[in-house]
């Protein structure tokens, strides 16, 4: 059976599907009976989900400026 410390160390490996069959089972068996680890697992999941909502922004002026560089590169080449 894993300790809480091991859950902390292994959670990303678990999420990434890197644990063996038996490792995965031990991980789940621990988490299901351990409230602090259930809390920790939910916190890591909420963190990931929140990061996924962080909309990427790209300044429109930067985009235009780079497209302009493309246009002058094109003119120079032809």
């Amino acid at each position: 059976m894993f300790s809480c410390r091991q859950i902390y160390d292994l959670i990303t490996e678990y999420d990434e599907g890197g644990l063996t069959e038996s490792g995965r089972r031990q991980f789940e068996q621990h988490v299901v009976i351990c409230p602090p680890c259930r809390g920790f697992v939910s916190q890591m999941r909420a963190t990931r989900e929140r990061l996924g909502q962080d909309a990427p922004t790209f300044p429109v002026e930067l985009e235009e400026s780079i497209v302009n560089a493309f246009r002058s590169w094109k003119e120079k080449g032809s």
Binding site: Y8, G39, L51, E63, S65, S72
Partner: protein, 238 residues
């Protein structure tokens, strides 16, 4: 000649545009293959160029932002990178993938600028989470609670919907990402903010899968902790 374009973007930061939906770069899987794309770019196909820019631009800006603290300098790095890409496009041999090549150039531009920029925070204070959380566990030889949590860890799936989208939480993300070691920041940015697969990130950054996973783990722990601090502050305040 390129300098004019670089200075123009200095004013760009005030108005930024949010892309419509958060999708992991669709062109990587469904767009034209590399060779076709390269031919289109060399032929001066502006639409193809715009698509590539839309795909890579935001993540390039984020990665550049991990090298330098100044947002405008990060924008300049992205601009410089694309100018270098265009300059090298005709001679590009295709030994690495086009996108990998672009990110290599980005890394070179960014390191050069990072060296000339005086960092305001000492590098030694920029370590990720991990070791500083050891006090959250009882000692391994504790008679009763060996390697158990010393903290309760409340569940976050029951939080009000907006608890992690406050201005404080947003600022915490930005600050924590900046404080991470650059490779950790690049990994979590690509994986969790941009939704790339681990294979894609390994290829892009030249990491082994194990390495990638360790960096991702440390970065996620650091961000979890940042959110925890925000939530604790709110709890104390209320």
């Amino acid at each position: 000649m390129e300098a004019a374009g670089v200075t123009r973007v200095l004013d760009a930061e005030t108005t930024s545009r949010t892309t419509a939906t958060h999708q992991p770069a669709p062109d990587r899987h469904t767009g034209p293959d590399e060779r076709a794309l390269l031919a289109m770019l060399r032929a001066g196909d502006e639409e193809a160029f715009r698509r590539l820019l839309a795909e890579l631009g935001p993540v390039m800006l984020r990665v550049a932002g991990t090298y330098v603290r100044d947002k405008q300098v990060a924008a300049e790095i992205v601009q410089e990178t694309w100018i270098a890409v265009l300059g090298g496009l005709d001679g590009f041999q295709g030994r690495s993938s086009l996108r990998n090549w672009i990110f290599t150039i980005l890394g070179n531009c960014a390191s050069r600028r990072a060296q000339s920029e005086t960092r305001s925070a000492p590098v030694s204070s920029l370590q990720g989470a991990g070791d500083d959380e050891l006090n959250r566990f009882f000692e391994a030889n504790h008679p009763r609670w060996a390697s158990c949590w010393t903290t309760i860890n409340t569940r976050w799936d029951a939080l009000p919907e907006n608890a992690l989208t406050t201005a404080e939480a947003q600022a915490a993300i930005t600050e924590k990402l900046k404080a991470l070691p650059p490779t950790q920041c690049a990994v979590i940015t690509l994986r969790d903010l941009e939704g790339w697969s681990s294979e894609e990130v390994c290829t892009m950054l030249g990491l082994t899968p194990e390495n990638q996973r360790v960096l991702l783990h440390r970065a996620r722990l650091a961000l979890r902790r940042a959110f925890e601090e925000v939530l604790d502050d709110e709890r104390i305040a209320s």
